[in-house]
């Protein structure tokens, strides 16, 4: 009987078998890596806005409090986006003819709202409430990142459920004194654990992992 295959096919056959196994492993790993890139998670993507509003300028340099614009953050589920009016309180006096502020003035003039691009978006089936987080000592920057350093705002965290649970399962890792909640430059102390545990007692913070805490 004549050989059907060339000598090399032995090697090829084995290589291809082991190769396949290894390849699957690599692909799995790759997928995992890709899923963590900002392409998928959209983290650290500074999104284009109608007006290039700089939190860095307003917060870090001018020292505005978060609540000056996001007025309802302490009382409502939504932190609130400032109406054009709020911008105009200052910008009717300063930078009155800066070109980049034209959209703001236009909006105020012919009362058409500015439509900003949402940076920190949650799916519609997630119900997040700002006020209660504020009330329990979760700082703005804990989730929104170093807003004071953002020229154009980006999303600091994935906002995946896994990420939410990281804190909901162990709040002590992130809590800060209520006095520091709005401090955009707060640095967690070295003994965060002890502080956190103390705050959990003081603020009656529970580990909320019930599904209906966020989904209804």
């Amino acid at each position: 009987m004549a050989q059907i295959f060339h000598h090399s096919t032995n090697t090829i056959a084995r290589v291809s078998i082991y190769g396949a196994v290894i390849l699957i492993g690599i692909l799995g790993y790759a997928a995992n890596v890709v899923n963590q890139t900002s392409y998928v998670t959209e983290v650290h993507n500074a999104l284009p806005q109608p007006v290039p509003f700089s939190h860095k300028h307003h917060v870090a340099e001018l020292g505005l409090d978060c609540r000056y614009c996001h007025t309802s953050v302490e009382v409502s589920s939504s932190a609130g986006m400032p109406p054009t009016q709020t911008c105009m309180t200052c910008h009717s006096q300063i930078w009155t003819n800066a070109q980049i502020l034209e959209p703001v003035r236009a909006s105020y003039r012919d009362s058409t709202p500015i439509s900003w691009t949402r940076v920190n978006a949650l799916p519609d089936f997630v119900y997040f409430n700002h006020s209660i987080h504020i009330a329990k000592g979760v700082g703005c920057t804990t989730c929104h990142g170093p807003v004071g350093e953002m020229n154009i705002t980006w999303r600091e965290n994935t906002l995946y459920m896994r990420w939410c649970l990281d804190c909901h399962m162990a709040p002590q890792k992130y809590l800060r004194p209520k006095s520091e909640v709005f401090n955009a430059f707060y640095k967690a102390p070295s003994d965060q654990e002890t502080l956190g545990n103390q705050l959990m007692i003081d603020y009656k913070v529970k580990k909320l992992t019930d599904c209906t805490t966020c989904h209804r």
Binding site: Q3, T9, T209
Partner: protein
């Protein structure tokens, strides 16, 4: 000495399993160690005759099975008790009776897979190319012919002597195997 590199070994063909078995025994007794027998179906005792000491496959399968079982249970235990403990219908977190089926299935899965792939690996398959296929009539090894092969690598191998030895086994014919 030269011909050793030029050939893989010698192949003797037999008509019946009995002949092959007998031949194999003789060859082994004659002191040949690097020998192999080929048959269209498993023949009782043939492997032993060519000096096979029995397989370690069962052990591999046992270990794989145990691994599958343990990992299966702890996968479930982790998910239900550590990863995200949830009150499901008032049942205890570690509802171990409910974890038995999956544990069992994974035991079987691991064991079965190891059995198959273990067998292939130990047999060194796949080997699409093999010198014995150079023997013209070897195609019949999967029909109704029985072959005995003494490899050139065998320390006792010498083309002439071995060929003569093989002819003493009353084969239908003895052929040299191209490498």
């Amino acid at each position: 000495m030269k011909q050793r590199e030029t050939i893989y070994g010698l192949m003797a063909e037999f008509a019946t399993p009995e002949q092959l078995l007998e031949a194999a025994h003789h060859t082994h007794e004659a002191g040949y160690r690097r020998i192999d027998a080929f048959a269209p179906f498993p023949i009782e005792g043939l492997a032993h005759a060519v000096g096979f000491k029995g397989s370690r496959l069962p052990l591999v399968v046992l270990i794989a099975g145990i691994l599958g079982g343990i990992s299966g249970f702890f996968l479930q235990y982790y998910a239900a008790v550590i990863g995200y403990p949830l009150n499901v219908g008032g049942r205890p977190l570690n509802s171990w009776p409910a974890f038995i089926p999956v544990t069992f299935e994974l035991t079987i899965l691991f064991a079965a897979a190891s059995a198959v792939f273990g067998m292939l690996a130990m047999n060194g398959l796949p080997t699409p190319y093999h010198p014995v296929f150079n023997v013209p009539r070897f195609a019949l090894a999967s029909r109704d012919r029985f072959f005995l092969c003494i490899k050139a690598r065998d320390p006792m191998f010498d083309l002439e002597i071995t060929k003569n030895f093989m002819l003493t086994l009353h084969p239908r014919e003895v052929t040299e195997i191209e490498p």
